[in-house]
């Protein structure tokens, strides 16, 4: 693909089990993610892909298992901690701040990096002002990168779906994350939008070296852009490896085609 070098394991999930009441969403799932790679999680509807992402991001707390992120062992994640530690995410059903402009939405991604206190902010003086301008500059770079200059001031609620997805990605990028979790970044898009999104994901990975974990339905797309793929079915892991391995895995084929091969 490019000059990026896949590094050591940055995120390691061990024996994760998650259930809601009596319903088992994930059963004993282990896999790892290496630095700078594009790692995909695929599987049929209800396989537990989104649950997996929510575990990494700290929205769900698994009953069993261990999460090792950058060498630190944890029982589970906490959303705020995940954000602080450099894990950003986008959402399957776009969770943007609809009443706010594109620019303001993306600026919220800088929130954690803002240091000036409330009092200085309120007076809009000294360091607070300088800081805001610096963050604004960074955000403008991201806006350029994702080619959304023309909608900068538009309230997000008015944008078409494809562009909203892009703003969602922009907000996550504004956090300058180490690991970026993408929940079905291409769902509901037309072919052209999908191609754009693929290009952006690869560019992010390539230019910023961001590690990417993505969930996707579209097998073709996944196989094209991922380094390694995990396959889930009914909350269990049924495959793990490079795209070609996964494609040849009989269990994966039957899960997708619904027949024993």
């Amino acid at each position: 693909m490019s000059g990026r070098k896949i590094g050591d394991v940055i995120l390691d999930l061990k024996n994760i089990s998650l259930s809601f009441g009596g319903v088992k969403a994930l059963t004993d799932i282990s896999f790892d993610v290496r630095e700078h790679e594009v790692r995909a999680i695929i599987g049929p509807n209800g396989a537990g892909k989104s649950s997996m992402l929510n575990v990494i991001n700290g929205v769900y707390h698994p009953q069993e298992g261990e999460i090792i992120f950058r060498g630190q062992h944890r029982r589970d994640m906490d959303t705020h901690e995940a954000a602080e530690q450099g894990i950003a995410r986008t959402f399957q059903n776009i969770a943007l701040f609809k009443g706010m402009s594109v620019l303001d939405n993306i600026m919220t991604g800088r929130n954690l990096r803002m240091k000036s206190n409330l009092f200085l902010q309120a007076l809009w003086i000294g360091p607070a002002q300088r800081e805001e301008l610096e963050h604004r500059k960074k955000v403008e770079e991201i806006i350029d990168f994702l080619e959304i200059q023309h909608i900068r001031k538009t309230p997000v609620g008015r944008l078409p779906y494809g562009l909203q997805k892009r703003v969602d990605l922009a907000r996550a990028l504004a956090m300058e994350p180490e690991v970026l979790l993408l929940d079905e970044p291409m769902a509901g898009m037309n072919v052209e939008e999908k191609q754009d999104m693929c290009r952006f994901i690869l560019d992010v990975n390539d230019q910023f070296g961001t590690t990417i974990v993505l969930i996707e339905h579209d097998m073709g797309v996944v196989m094209d852009i991922s380094d390694r793929v995990v396959v889930l079915d009914y909350g269990k892991k049924i495959g793990d490896g490079v795209p070609d391995e996964v494609r040849a895995n009989p269990e994966v084929i039957s899960a997708y085609l619904g027949a024993s091969h």
Partner: protein
């Protein structure tokens, strides 16, 4: 003519005070998506604290000066409102993240009763007065333009000015500062706000604290006009139609809504009252709100509710 202007000005000033209470609703709704039923109770609580502190402080500290005593009382009350905000977050809201709006509304109903009860237990349930030294004497203005001039109450005038300054400051805070942006973000989507690392708990304390301070300002102004007593908490009911008119999410809406209702009820009382036997002032605001609910439910300035099918 001068009578008309007097009525108009009187309406505008009452309207400004409605706006002040309405602002408390809007702030909390904007920042947390919670319709805070407890705003009225907060006004009463703040006013009670203020009235009693200013009464007690000369005794506690041996201060003679009324100004100094009031100043200390205000600072103390702000601290108390901060503690209230912190407790509300800690004991109620924290456990209700991501619950639906009705649940949160019920929680604020509960907070109303707790605040009413606790407030009157600590500070007493008599009628108290707040005297921050606002001039009570009426003045006559614009004598050169109208015969006899226009009679206005200095106190109302100052109160309206204070309210206007507060409103302007809050608008800037919401629109221009990173914290304001974070507050708006939380209002739109809890989950997404968490994912970018906005600390929900801190944001909620800040917003309840700011709402507490607007409640204090409203409490001081209403309290020094009418005395501090339980009925003060029903001032909030007068602010409900204002919020509906102006839109739950709009700070300017709260102000303009307040002014329209203030002026509307005064003018209609004076000029239409005798056709229906008077008493319009009491229900005018609610009728107007009802009309708005029928034709423009998001209010004058509220964010349009757009649903994708």
């Amino acid at each position: 003519m001068s009578f008309f202007i007097e009525t108009l000005l009187g309406g505008l000033m009452t309207g400004m005070l409605y706006a002040l209470v309405a602002l408390g609703f809007v702030l909390i709704y904007k920042a947390s998506g919670v319709f805070n039923f407890a705003q009225g109770a907060m006004v009463l609580f703040a006013a009670l604290a203020m009235a009693r502190f200013s009464e007690w402080i000369p005794g506690w500290l041996g201060i003679e000066s009324l100004f100094l005593a009031n100043l200390i009382a205000i600072v103390l009350t702000v601290v108390v409102m901060f503690v209230v905000a912190w407790l509300v977050e800690r004991l109620a809201l924290r456990h209700l993240v991501n619950q639906n709006e009705a649940t949160l509304l019920m929680a604020t109903l509960g907070i109303t009763y707790v605040l009413d009860g606790v407030g009157q237990t600590i500070f007493g349930s008599d009628i108290y007065k707040i005297d921050v030294g606002m001039p009570k004497d009426p003045v006559i203005m614009l004598e050169s333009m109208f015969e006899g001039g226009v009679l206005i109450n200095k106190e109302d005038f100052i109160a309206a000015a204070i309210a206007a300054i507060l409103v302007a400051a809050l608008t800037l805070f919401f629109q221009k500062t990173p914290t304001g942006r974070a507050l708006r973000a939380v209002a739109d989507d809890h989950q997404a706000a968490l994912s970018v690392g906005i600390p929900l708990d801190r944001i909620w304390v800040i917003v309840w604290c700011v709402a507490g301070i607007t409640a204090l300002v409203a409490g001081i102004i209403w309290g020094s006009k009418l005395g501090v007593q339980f009925s003060l908490s029903t001032v909030a009911l007068r602010a409900l139609p204002v919020v509906i008119l102006g839109g739950l999410t709009s700070v300017p809406g709260a102000i303009i809504g307040g002014l329209i209702i203030g002026v509307g009820e005064k003018l209609s009382e004076v000029y239409l009252g005798h056709y229906v036997g008077g008493g319009i002032e009491i229900w005018f605001a609610y009728m107007l709100a009802l009309v708005f609910l029928l034709f423009r439910p998001q209010g004058l300035f509220g964010e349009k509710i757009i649903d994708r099918v």
